[in-house]
Symmetry: C2
Subunit: 150 residues, 2 copies
């Protein structure tokens, strides 16, 4: 019998509940530690908006909806990003009411740098784990990603 065909018993409800609590806490602790250790200069809400713009330019309205903040808040956030030279506002090609917000090359560099720093903290911890623990986390990260995207 190889590991791939081994059968596992499903967890009982009480065990599911306990695991859910522990797992949730563990993820929150990791998030907090990563954020604290990274000491990056991009504020969380700015970072989040910049990530959205990495894929494609968007209007302030779209950004507000995606980030679930009010339109005036997004106006302010975009304004701050413009001041720092990380995004640019341009008129919409056809609808003159709309504005198109685009990421600058400087912003792409800043994002890359920030991610590198955030990953560094985690990379050190992961590299200090046993190979077996690393293997488990490899599978767990896939499962957690799937769960978060549900």
């Amino acid at each position: 019998m190889s590991e791939n065909t081994r059968s596992y018993a499903a967890l009982r409800p009480s065990a599911v509940s306990s695991l859910a609590g522990e797992l949730r806490l563990a993820c929150m602790r990791i998030s907090r530690r990563v954020r604290y250790e990274s000491t990056d200069s991009i504020a969380p809400h700015q970072f989040s908006v910049m990530c959205r713009l990495e894929e494609s330019p968007r209007s302030p309205g779209e950004l507000a909806e995606i980030e679930r903040v009010s339109a005036p808040s997004m106006t302010r956030t975009v304004g701050g990003l413009v001041e720092r030279g990380w995004v640019e506002r341009a008129p919409h090609p056809t609808d003159k009411r709309q504005v198109v917000v685009t990421l600058t090359d400087d912003a792409r560099k800043a994002l890359k740098d920030t991610r590198r720093k955030r990953d560094a903290w985690m990379a050190v911890r992961v590299s200090n784990l046993d190979p077996e623990e690393q293997a488990i986390l490899l599978r767990a990260s896939e499962i957690l990603t799937k769960v978060a995207n549900e």
Copy 2:
């Protein structure tokens, strides 16, 4: 050969780096989803302080240091908790400069309720996973907790 004696190869540096990035992102996504889905009435900073006080009463200074915020910020946070009836300020038995902040019974109930709601989202997701995936997450939560507490 059982799983317990199976040997795993250590990840190469590039794989460690990749795993670290994926794992960090997965934890942050889970945190965000949990926070978004729980819609609880306790603000994050209040919740965090209340958790610290669950173990034992503490002074505002201690709380400020643990939470890594300024003393005036903690004064304000504690003030808000007092207003909501979740903590009480009492004079220190020997040092009259100090204040002892204690959690009320109402707060303990509110904490329990909030945790139950937060766990609920995660519990539903966990119960829908394969038994094998549940087993992996069980081990992963232990490892992640260890990493976060390092």
